[in-house]
């Protein structure tokens, strides 16, 4: 099953789309925990959560992709990612409306984001891949956060 150029990705649902996140940088998946509001912060990082004694920012990709921030459902999860911010590596939580599964995507199935006809800011999309019968978005997490 495992081919040389494939990599595992975590598939998560957000605003009707499926985002694929490199499983290597996923630390854990949490049930929603209380979120502390940070007055004055940019809207897509408006919260802080407690991840095992560490304070991590909670990132809402939806607000970076022009989607509606829907209220939490029983399927909502927080994905804890290890991300690089400038020089530092830190933890950040990402809201997922639904976590599907970890699946392998081969590099050959990944294509660059189309230049036109896309609703999103192109720098936020690293690649578009194919999974099951649809398309998945591989977000450029560095660009989204910085």
């Amino acid at each position: 099953m495992k081919t040389g150029d494939a990599k595992p990705f975590l598939m998560l649902g957000l605003g009707g789309e499926i985002f694929a996140i490199d499983a290597e940088c996923v630390r854990e998946i949490l049930d929603p925990v209380p979120v502390t509001d940070v007055p004055g912060a940019r809207d897509f990082v408006h919260g802080l959560i407690n991840v095992r004694g560490k304070v991590a920012p909670l990132v809402d990709f939806r607000l970076r992709f022009g989607m509606e921030a829907a209220p939490a459902t029983p399927d909502t999860r927080f994905i804890v990612l290890e991300v690089k911010l400038g020089q530092d590596t830190t933890f950040a939580g990402v809201i997922a409306e639904k976590v599907h599964e970890v699946a392998e995507l081969s590099f050959s199935s990944l294509g660059p984001a189309p230049k036109i006809g896309m609703r999103w800011r192109p720098e936020f999309v690293k690649a578009i891949g194919q999974w099951r019968d649809g398309f998945v978005v591989v977000p450029n997490i560095d660009a989204i956060l910085n």
Partner: protein
């Protein structure tokens, strides 16, 4: 940390520090043989381990450095100031070589070595005999027979040394016969196998010079007695009463079995390090601190549950865990504490270099090196202190001629000291220079438009002007200071650590800057408050008092004037729920927490005051770098995150509102 090159680097930096300290000691006391030996040992170890870890460039450079320095050790060359400053530069070059073996400039290395060699030969008795470079050994005139008699310190085995290895090394020099003198070894019932009571006598025929024989013992030299005589010279050794041939039958050194890695490097380390310490990565300690913080939070929840459950046995366990957790927290905080001496010793070199550049003679004295401070604070203190020391040397201390005129010693005094005072650490930088000239500062501040010309300021107020951004009294900009940037940065850095700076100065007598810092950055005592649905922590040290927001004050507030009347003083206040855009309706009885920073006060209006809270500070990530009202976050007993208010920022904000309001009032009056 498993990368051998990294291990070498860490060790090399330690050795280089040791070398630098020794060189600086020698500046004051050039004839101190112990210090010369200490410098030499550092070089020697560096050479050995450099070669071992594949840092050939380091090893080769150090070898030549060592050769030059060896002349000093043997008394062949005078330790001139020139040689010392070259040696310090060479030490910097080694550091560069260790950091990036390829990146360092080989030409600089060559120049330094040539300089070192020249300097170490000046005035040397056999200056002509020592030729350049590696083979500069001299004294090479065929095999000579030496008679050696040596005895190690009794604790040599306990310290991890192995005499047999040293004897083996001695044998590599040439034909060698060793006899053990066991007169001093007690009978079996009194024998302590860990104490080395054996003396050795050896006859060695070698073409190597005497110095090489001495080098065998270099790491234990301090604790041993060694007599080396050339056979044929007058010999006055008492004849050994009993002698047996090697291999010596002794109890096998206990230490040796436990420490198979015993080698000369360890030996050197043990000889200098009396306290048993271990090196741990800072990250691991930070992680430990995080885990302990988590444990304390979990334990608080457990205590709460046990209290409500009413089960006595569970209560007892909860109390036990509470006790253990708080002990663990204290110990972990203690691990992060480092003596400030490590920082002070760095400044010796700085003062040495600056004094040379400025042509001033300066004596640096330090005290209170044992004062402990959180590790992260020590790192953050380095830059501000460098700046203050530069200022003291450049602006504070006068030129030698001016000092003479003022009737002072030519050598200026700069003292660095640290001490504990309650829950604070005081760090003082004092010089006996010209001091701050309040009149001049005042005039300059008026000229630069920082203050009006008719304000009555106390000396203390005027002294604080030096921390104003852009303020500088230096007539000319020097390489070191006078650009008027820096002191404000110093002040900001210290304030970011929740510290303050006091200035005490007497014109003509000198100036003293006192930094007051909290013991640790990791935990503070805070007041937990609620604004709308959010919980916030206010550092207790910033709080002056808490009062009720009276109906009257709120009414005037709605008219655009938000001042409180606190016993006659007008204090501006900020309504946090407006600032934070809280949407829930306000509580009926709002409270005001009066906080102060820089002797300016601001009231913060909150919905509820909950109580004091031991606050483990967690910094915010870069994603929140644009958020100005908070200095960090913490985790509450129920696991939720609360934000810590950044009081200096909020006070500034409140004060600027006040100014804005005053301006508006003026406009309205027109």
């Amino acid at each position: 940390m498993n990368d051998p090159a990294e291990i070498f680097r860490v060790e090399a930096f330690d050795l280089l520090d040791q070398l630098e300290q020794a060189l600086l000691d020698l500046e004051k006391n050039p004839s101190d043989q112990d210090v010369v030996n200490s410098a030499f040992r550092a070089l020697h170890t560096l050479k050995g381990s450099g070669a071992m870890f594949g840092f050939e460039a380091v090893s080769a450079f150090v070898h030549n450095f060592e050769t030059a320095f060896d002349h000093v050790r043997k008394g062949k060359a005078q330790l001139s100031q020139e040689l010392l400053s070259l040696a310090l530069l060479a030490k910097d070059h080694i550091r560069a070589l260790v950091e990036t073996p390829e990146g360092a400039d080989a030409e600089i290395g060559q120049r330094l070595l040539a300089g070192l060699e020249a300097a170490s030969e000046i005035g040397g008795p056999d200056a002509g005999a020592t030729s350049a470079g590696v083979a500069a050994q001299g004294e090479d005139d065929g095999p000579v027979t030496w008679r050696l008699r040596f005895r190690f310190g009794e604790s040599v085995l306990i310290n991890g040394g192995n005499p047999l290895l040293l004897i083996d090394e001695l044998r590599t020099l040439g034909e060698c016969e060793v006899r053990a003198l066991t007169d001093d070894v007690p009978t079996l019932d009194a024998l302590d196998p860990r104490a080395c009571r054996i003396e050795w006598e050896a006859t060695l025929t070698t073409s190597k010079p005497r110095s090489e024989i001495e080098d065998v013992f270099i790491f234990v030299m301090d604790e041993m007695t060694l007599a080396i005589e050339r056979v044929g010279e007058t010999v006055e050794t008492p004849a050994p009463e009993s002698a047996i041939k090697l291999p010596v039958v002794t109890a096998k050194p206990v230490q040796e079995e436990q420490k198979p890695l015993d080698d000369r490097r360890n030996f050197g380390r043990r000889a200098t390090d009396n306290e048993s310490t271990m090196r741990v990565q800072a990250e691991r300690v930070d992680e430990l601190m995080d885990r302990v913080g988590e444990l304390v939070i979990a334990q608080a929840r457990l205590s709460q549950l046990a209290q409500s459950a009413g089960d006595l046995e569970i209560k007892a366990v909860a109390e036990e865990i509470e006790r253990l957790a708080s002990g663990l927290r204290d110990i972990t905080t203690g691990i992060r504490m480092l003596p400030i001496g490590s920082l002070f010793s760095r400044f010796r070199r700085l003062v040495y270099d600056l004094a040379r550049d400025l042509n001033k003679s300066v004596e640096l004295t330090t005290s209170g090196e044992d004062t402990e401070l959180d590790k992260s604070m020590i790192e953050r203190l380095a830059d501000p202190l460098v700046h203050l020391i530069r200022n003291a040397l450049d602006h504070g201390l006068e030129e030698p001629s001016a000092r003479l005129e003022a009737g002072k010693e030519v050598t200026g005094q700069l003292s660095l000291s640290a001490s504990h005072s309650g829950a604070e650490v005081l760090i003082s930088i004092r010089d006996d220079g010209r001091g701050l000239d309040a009149k001049r500062l005042y005039a300059k501040a008026v000229a630069q438009g920082l203050i009006g010309g008719n304000e009555a300021l106390t000396d203390a107020d005027i002294h604080q002007l030096i921390f104003h951004p852009g303020f500088s009294t230096a007539e000319s900009v020097t390489k070191l200071s006078g650009r008027g940037v820096g002191m404000d940065v110093v002040k900001r850095t210290i304030e970011a650590m929740r510290g303050t700076i006091d200035v005490a100065s007497e014109p003509g007598k000198g100036c003293e800057l006192i930094l007051r810092l909290p013991l640790t950055l990791a935990i503070i005592e805070g007041l937990l408050v609620r604004v709308g649905a959010g919980f916030y922590v206010i550092p207790l040290s910033a709080i002056e008092e808490c009062v009720e927001l009276s109906q009257a004050a709120r009414d005037t507030g709605s008219k655009g004037r938000s001042f409180l009347n606190i016993r006659g003083d007008l204090v501006p206040f900020l309504v946090l729920r407006d600032l934070f855009e809280t949407k829930t309706p306000p509580d009926a009885h709002q409270k005001i927490v009066i906080v102060s920073s820089n002797e300016q006060r601001v009231g913060l209006v909150v919905d509820q005051i909950i109580g004091s809270h031991q606050t483990v500070i967690k910094s915010l990530s870069k994603l929140h770098a644009d958020v100005t009202s908070f200095s960090g976050a913490t985790i509450l007993g129920d696991g939720a995150v609360a934000l810590i208010l950044d009081i200096p920022r909020l006070v500034d904000l409140g004060q600027s509102h006040e100014k804005g309001a005053k301006a508006k009032e003026k406009e309205l009056a027109w």
